[in-house]
Symmetry: C2
Subunit: 332 residues, 2 copies
Amino acid sequence: MKKVINNPENVVEEMLEGMAAAYPQYVRKLDGFDVMIRTNAPVKGKVALVSGGGSGHEPSHAGFVGKGMLDAAVAGAVFTSPTPDQIYEAIKAVDGGAGVLLIIKNYTGDIMNFEMAAEMAEGDGVNIEKVVVNDDVAVEDSLYTTGRRGIAGTVFVHKIAGAKAEAGGTLVEVKNTAEKVINNVRSMGFALTPCTVPAAGKPNFTLGEDEMEIGIGIHGEPGTMRTSIMKADEIVDHLLDKITKDLPYEAGDEVAVMVNGLGATPLMEQFIMNRRVSEVLKEKKIKVYKTFIGEFMTSLEMAGASITLLKLDEELKTLLDASADTPAFRQL
Amino acid sequence: MKKVINNPENVVEEMLEGMAAAYPQYVRKLDGFDVMIRTNAPVKGKVALVSGGGSGHEPSHAGFVGKGMLDAAVAGAVFTSPTPDQIYEAIKAVDGGAGVLLIIKNYTGDIMNFEMAAEMAEGDGVNIEKVVVNDDVAVEDSLYTTGRRGIAGTVFVHKIAGAKAEAGGTLVEVKNTAEKVINNVRSMGFALTPCTVPAAGKPNFTLGEDEMEIGIGIHGEPGTMRTSIMKADEIVDHLLDKITKDLPYEAGDEVAVMVNGLGATPLMEQFIMNRRVSEVLKEKKIKVYKTFIGEFMTSLEMAGASITLLKLDEELKTLLDASADTPAFRQL
């Protein structure tokens, strides 16, 4: 296992300590918990956004804690749902009196634990709403999921619901905005290599030297097809065909695009993918409003990427364009 | 070779096309040349900054073209110096009448070709100054270098000289600011794996399953030591010992820190490194002013990272803090 770590058992805690040391202007670690919150939390009178999940998807989610996005991110063990008590502590730490929206990726364990935490916090009088992101069009049901998985589209939910909360939206308004994003966002990914959970010490699946897997999940869950390695344009065509047919995205629509690297795939290859994304969308007369390229929702050092489309209206465009200032997403 | 590409011969051009499609608000590709320039170039009356080098180090350098940083980035073939005519075209495209500063990493081919381009542009009446970045403390002389190599510290030169130019500095002032950064910045890196240049199709060196190389260059140039894989803290201690002794950085100094991923090493591991960086600097009573973590100067899909320290004074702090708006570096 070639990793820059000290002890596989401590990777999450040490990561969060290193992150807190790097970004005191943005985040601090909640004492005794693997939870990152805004330095200035709680923000009085603002709806607070809490997200999180298993670690190993960095910069998701703690990298998006800051002005215009999240108030707290809860970090479970690698590829493991955070515990209810962690989530409860995060909620309590960031509630500014206007309520808390929980943004949950659709994994069975995450939903169960976020819901338990919500009940605990509601018992203390905190107003809670929750949304579940399920943007991955690859498969219905999966290794850890009933229904579709939540993947990189979650970052658009953080960005846009975060902007709505920052602008003074009420808890119900922020929830409705988040739901609107979820209803309009679709993603799909692929992998060229597996990744290794530090505590396991060996790859989470195997792929031959000339093989790739289409539709893979961000924890290595099986996808839709295992095939010999395709050219970049062929991969993009395949993913975009599934994605655009799903909502569907049609001629005249306006979208935000995210090309998301899963870990080991360099920016060079992500840009080569985007070249074809922009060509295909132009052919389909779908207008690209804004493009985001980089690592947003990773899978440790997996080689691969995902494509996300978000269909926009004027409200979503305004919120997408609002300034944000977090460790991993900044916009002037 | 597991890469998301179409044709190894076209990776640079297709990458730049994909980048131009992604970020029309920031950059455009110069017709017929592998050169990215600011969308609004030339900026009249502002000193223009031109950098670049071989491709494969993304987001360097085109990711740093935009307000507060570069005006143009010239992209050579992968790990290959750009040609003089490319660099000349970049200079001509961004000269706004106040002169052009060339920021060159210390590789023999880069220096030769940037100097030839400078002579050509000077022949046309463009005022040119140049600086050479040589921040890598690992080795004197190297495979492609006389003297020390230029690596991730170059990004601090882009940021700070770019801020000086944006603030209206003259060509000589901007050059002097760049030199001040170069005099105060030191870096060193390591690798756990090699990487594969697409046109070569095979890894650029070999490392055993339990081996790592300390002091490696960003093109896979030999480092100072090949050893079995060390713990993250041991790696950091080793690199920081070399870096801090070199300038030297001493008790009472104030620094900016960059932990730079080389490609396949996840943010998780970069944060674990930074945890130790902050501990060691605290022990040494060197104050951390600001920390930057992520991929700034990569080496395709190499696993590994580098650490950079920049010693700051009040002027450098102000310029480092100035807002910047580029594809890969944004600061409010």
